[in-house]
Amino acid sequence: MVHAPVLIVVTLLLAAFIVPLLYRKLPVAQVVFLLGIVISSIFSIRMAFLVLREGTLTYYLGGWLPPYGIEVVADAFGAYASLVLALISLPISYFVVFAPKEVNTPARYMALILLLMAAMQGMVLAGDLFNLFVFIEICSLSAIAIIAVKGTRDSIEASFRYLVLSALGSGGILFAIALIFMITGHLNMGYVRESLAVTASLYPLNILTALAFIFVGFSVKAAIFPLHVWLPEAHSNAPTASSALLSGLVVKAYLVAFIRIMYMVIGTELFVALPLRPILLILAACAMLVGSTFAIVQNNIKRMLAYSTVAQMGYIVLGLGLFSQRALEGSILHILNHAITKSLLFLAAGVIIKQTGTNRLSDLKGMGRKMPFTFAAFTVGSLSMVGIPGFAGFVSKLYLALGALDIGQIIFAALILVSSLLNATYYFPIVVNAFFGQTEATHQGSDPRKSVMAPLAVFALAVVFMGLFPSVVMPLVRQAAGLLQP
């Protein structure tokens, strides 16, 4: 029996409970923190290889078989998501330890991050709705907490708003789970799926209601278009590492859970029978346009990045709505690519804000000459966001656009282009103004020390690497997309 799927979560949890005990000995706590993330990541990577080689891994907690026992399922999709989480969390946790502190209670902050990571890993690996729900809730709570931990007034306000909406979302999801349980009598995903195949036609209204609640619940959590209202405030007022985690990973972990329920529990047949795909497509289109448009008018760098996240989530949802093999591959690949890119951008933005003391885009003119490496990293991220070939973002856009054409939706391929252009109109002026032009820099600032720059450099290299050699992850992505599309 391969223990990796459960050990990923357990290692993180164990570290999460040890770290707060060590709040008086911060260096030790930091070591434990990093150890937890690293060990869990090693398990995650190992699991990805195993899944690629041997197919889906299942793990029964305590040896109890479903439907009573708790099941952990690492299929290609889960393993891929887990791998993304692990790989992105490594540089971010390094940043948490070595970057200048933004929070007063670092041990608690690290414990929260560990808890968040554990919850996200659990969310993508859970094999039954019960554990899925529990991990969703833990994830929500710790995600809210790592915003509020900054302690500023704005961050508390943002996290309270997030909390209220998140609780509504949780309520919706729980209600949907109850409805599904009502129809099927099971919470284990495999059993639910089997049972639904038979019973769905008997209780169409219940299924419809459940779908609606799942949709709304996860829309809130994953910031899918009309319910993204909490995101800009929450992501822009969090500490730097939190912003990177939230924008890079958390919304995607929810989306992965959403995809799993929609495509692998409710089942593709039902999903296709209902007019959900057009809805997803329209929402995605709105997200891409509205998110980008709002991003253009922002003057706060982190808020701009947050609106850009809304737009980018639109890309992922677009692929889900298009539902051709290549579009799904694009979506799944974009989960990774956007995670890398947005983490890079948020870390760079955090460093910029820390070094210059301003978060206004209009104050950053000419700063590229004073902080060349930070802004170079930001430039790499921008190029990836706009979709310049050779950078990560391009590859997923390529797949999405091909996927759109596969099913004859030229309009959505064109939409990707328009959205790319919009991206360019808000990312490039920052880069251009930072490096070129005769305006003198109005603020002080310089590149931080090397240990702070290291995660940025890693992410920047990863963006370029993923832009040139996506074939590294493509086998897993292809398998995952194949799972979604029977």
Binding site: E137, G171, F175, A178, F181
Partner: protein, 123 residues
């Protein structure tokens, strides 16, 4: 008549949904932040009630080992509710912590006033 019959058999569901609506409404429309949290609690408990009543319909006997009983109801949903209760406590506690901090910063618990103060500062 048929409606009433249907209602009486589904009484728990009906009450659960009424409570859900009350909670949801309180949470969304009430200005007082603590009230919002109470609404959240009512919403959560209503969902648990919904869940429990489903389990009641299907099962009939608590999953405790006794002589002579071979079949037990599925323990997973009750574990779910148990965890759900604890999670809702955590949410409540955390939200209250945030409320206290907000009160310290703004001196009010009124959501509209807080928004008004913020927009005045920004604008």
């Amino acid at each position: 008549m048929a409606i009433i019959e249907k209602l009486s058999t589904n009484l728990y569901y009906l009450v659960a949904i009424i409570l859900f609506i009350i909670g949801f409404h309180t949470m969304l429309t009430h200005n007082n932040l603590i009230k919002k949290i109470m609404g959240m609690n009512i919403m959560d408990t209503s969902l648990f009630l919904f869940f429990v009543s489903i389990g009641y319909r299907r099962g009939g006997i608590a999953p405790i080992i006794k002589e002579g009983i071979v079949e037990y109801v599925n323990p997973v949903p009750s574990a779910l509710i148990l965890t759900g209760i604890v999670i809702s406590l955590s949410f409540t506690a955390f939200a209250l912590g945030l409320v206290i901090l907000l009160y310290k910063h703004y001196g009010t618990l009124d959501a509209d006033k807080i928004i008004a103060m913020r927009s005045r500062e920004i604008g």
